[in-house]
């Protein structure tokens, strides 16, 4: 097990290194650097001067090793656009916003999906079950950014229940923080909920057919114990298999949903960087976003063995 984890961490680091390196060189191989868009037509000399100042006139591999060297010392360079702020500062400000959003989205949608999945399995073919099925289909087909806009129109603009946009940090109070995150969390978490609810339903149905459930019922256990203790825990195993995919979907949802709700998290910063072709910012962002994805995959795989002790990885 330890060997497996160590091997996986090593592999995760290789993936992150490969992605960031690929992006670094591809950015430079494609025409149109940050200053071309800004200045080239107006003042080519000034553009060249800026390129020299930012070191973009050097060969790509020299730039790469300089970047890597600084990165290993924790320096991601400065953002070209705006006020020359350190990329690491921009990212460390954005990070808690994205994590808060992801955390709320994950908890809300997991709770909802597991409940919906279990209930629709117990009440198979009831109207409740059909509602859950239809909702799950819709949740997978609806663009998350559209759902976000609809939520704003309904709950913020018309009902005034919750704030429409923005982010308030946790240090300014729990409710202000949470209230700004509820709508974006629903928008980002819906596809996740849909997948988990469907998987929970089919896993529960399968488990409820097994012999040990019949035995549990036959020996007179009450239905609640049968469902929650005997069936649910075993039904969780296949659910965790899709958890990785579903969680990745939730994380990529936050990228887009942050832009709907004007939350300056990692996703919004990344998109801004891409639009401005702000190389240092894009490189730093892609590094962090990749770390998040790769390590959440790893976490899910490890979680898998915790839930189901029968699974042992050999490598």
């Amino acid at each position: 097990m330890t060997r497996y984890v160590v091997w996986r961490i090593f592999y995760a680091l290789v993936v992150i290194w490969a992605v960031t390196t690929l992006v670094f060189f591809m950015l430079r191989a494609v025409p149109g650097d940050p200053f071309a868009a800004m200045l080239a037509d107006v003042d080519p000399a000034a553009a060249d001067e800026l390129r020299a100042k930012w070191g973009l006139d050097r060969p790509a591999y020299v730039q790469y090793f300089l970047w890597l060297g600084r990165l290993l010392q924790g320096d991601m360079g400065n953002s070209i656009y705006g006020s020359n702020v350190a990329v690491s500062r921009i990212i460390s400000e954005a990070f808690p916003r994205t994590m808060s959003l992801a955390f709320i989205a994950f908890s809300l949608s997991l709770l909802l999906a597991l409940t919906a999945g279990v209930i629709s399995a117990i009440r198979k073919h009831s109207w409740l079950d059909h509602t859950v099925t239809i909702a799950a289909f819709l949740g997978l087909s609806m663009p998350d950014f559209w759902l976000g806009i609809l939520l704003i129109i309904l709950f913020a603009v018309n009902l005034h229940w919750l704030p429409a946009i923005g982010y308030v940090s946790l240090s300014e109070g729990f409710w202000p923080w949470l209230s700004h995150l509820i709508l974006p969390a629903i928008a980002a978490g819906t596809p996740f909920s849909a997948i988990i609810a469907r998987m929970t339903r089919s896993a529960m149905l399968e488990v409820l057919q097994t012999e040990y459930i019949k035995v549990a019922r036959a020996k007179g256990l009450d239905e609640k114990t049968v469902i929650l203790v005997h069936a649910f825990r075993n039904a969780l195993i296949p659910v965790i298999t899709v958890m990785g995919i579903a969680f990745a979907l939730l994380m990529s949802g936050t990228v887009i949903v942050e832009n709907v709700f004007a939350i300056k998290g990692l996703g919004r910063v990344l998109i801004q960087g891409i639009i401005n072709r702000d190389y240092p910012l894009v490189q730093g962002e892609i590094l962090i976003v990749s770390v998040l994805f790769v390590f959440s995959n790893l976490l899910v795989d490890i979680l898998y063995t915790v839930i189901d002790p029968r699974i042992r990885y050999v490598e």
Binding site: G32, M142, P143, W146, I274
Partner: protein
């Protein structure tokens, strides 16, 4: 699909000794199964109507999609059935034209990525060795990220614009096809009919194209259907973020993006384009679900919930 239909399919499969490929199966049987699945029929009808609508957009649009009229932010009425935007452009006409881009990007990217992905999977699974290693390492790299994030990374590299979006989405979906086909090829390669073909001196290319490729088609078709819906969502998402087509082009994602400015004064601008995306994607998902049942492609082969 109902249980009884599934049973019929099972019986039919068991009666033939060899694995049944799409090509071998009676030509119209699958259509009959499809017809019995109400969701699939609804999905298919909606898709056909949408595609036809996109093709004849100039005839069914009531206005030029970029024509500016003095009716700014008009709610739906008989003159503008879905209302107008801040520049007085007719929303219904813009959505009709938007269908062209959405469907075009969705279908073209998936076709491209299926062709390239299938080829990679075939070569990788058939030859093995360093080629397989090289291809699989790249595929693994993509596998670590959701397709949408890969598309965003690629747009970060290539820049924005319609052609770059097509390239980005095509590359982002490649790994799914390569993976599916490679896994199939690995098992088909060992089938007796392939060994028989080889023993009578069939060339590699003949074995690949005549004996292996047709047998990988069922999961590829299902994967392609699923992928089209995700490709449409990806294009809409990229346009929405300002990474897609250039501003003022009528696309569903872009109309939605612009609608945010008028969120309290023009609900129709936000509701209808989103509804267009949802209906399209939902129809494809309905159809794809039925197709998966009929072609009996197990979830293991194709990520039903693709990320």
């Amino acid at each position: 699909m109902t249980e009884s239909v599934k049973a019929v399919v099972d019986v039919e499969r068991k009666s033939t000794a060899e694995p049944v490929s799409v090509a071998q199966r009676s030509r119209w049987l699958w259509a009959r199964y499809l017809w019995r699945d109400k969701k699939a029929v609804i999905g298919l009808v909606v898709l056909v109507v949408m595609t036809l609508g996109a093709l004849v957009a100039p005839y069914i649009a009531t206005h030029d999609p970029n024509e500016q009229t003095p009716d700014f932010l008009e709610p739906p009425s008989i003159y503008h059935i879905l209302g107008t935007d801040d520049l007085g452009r007719d929303l219904y006409s813009r959505i009709v034209y938007g269908a062209r881009i959405s469907l075009f990007v969705g279908i073209s990217t998936v076709l491209l990525s299926a062709v390239v992905g299938v080829l990679l999977g075939l070569l990788s699974g058939y030859y093995g060795g360093w080629l397989d290693n090289l291809i699989m390492r790249y595929i693994d790299l993509q596998w670590a990220f959701p397709n949408f994030i890969i598309a965003v990374y690629l747009v970060a590299v290539f820049g924005t614009g319609l052609s770059n979006v097509i390239v980005a989405v095509t590359l982002a979906f490649l790994d799914d096809f390569a993976r599916v086909v490679r896994a199939m090829v690995l098992s088909i390669r060992e089938e007796e009919y392939v060994i028989a073909a080889r023993s009578i001196g069939a060339s590699d290319r003949r074995i690949q194209l005549v004996h292996i490729l047709p047998n990988t088609m069922a999961p590829v078709i299902v994967q392609a259907t699923v992928s089209i819906s995700y490709a449409i969502l990806a294009e809409a998402g990229l346009s929405f973020l300002g990474l897609g087509v250039k501003p003022s082009t009528p696309t569903w994602g872009l109309i939605l993006s612009d609608s945010r400015t008028f969120i309290s004064r023009g609900w129709w601008l936000a509701v209808f384009p989103g509804l267009a995306i949802t209906i399209t994607v939902l129809s494809i998902n309905f159809f794809g679900d039925a197709l998966r049942d009929i072609l009996d492609v197990r979830e293991k082969q194709v990520e039903g919930v693709q990320h």
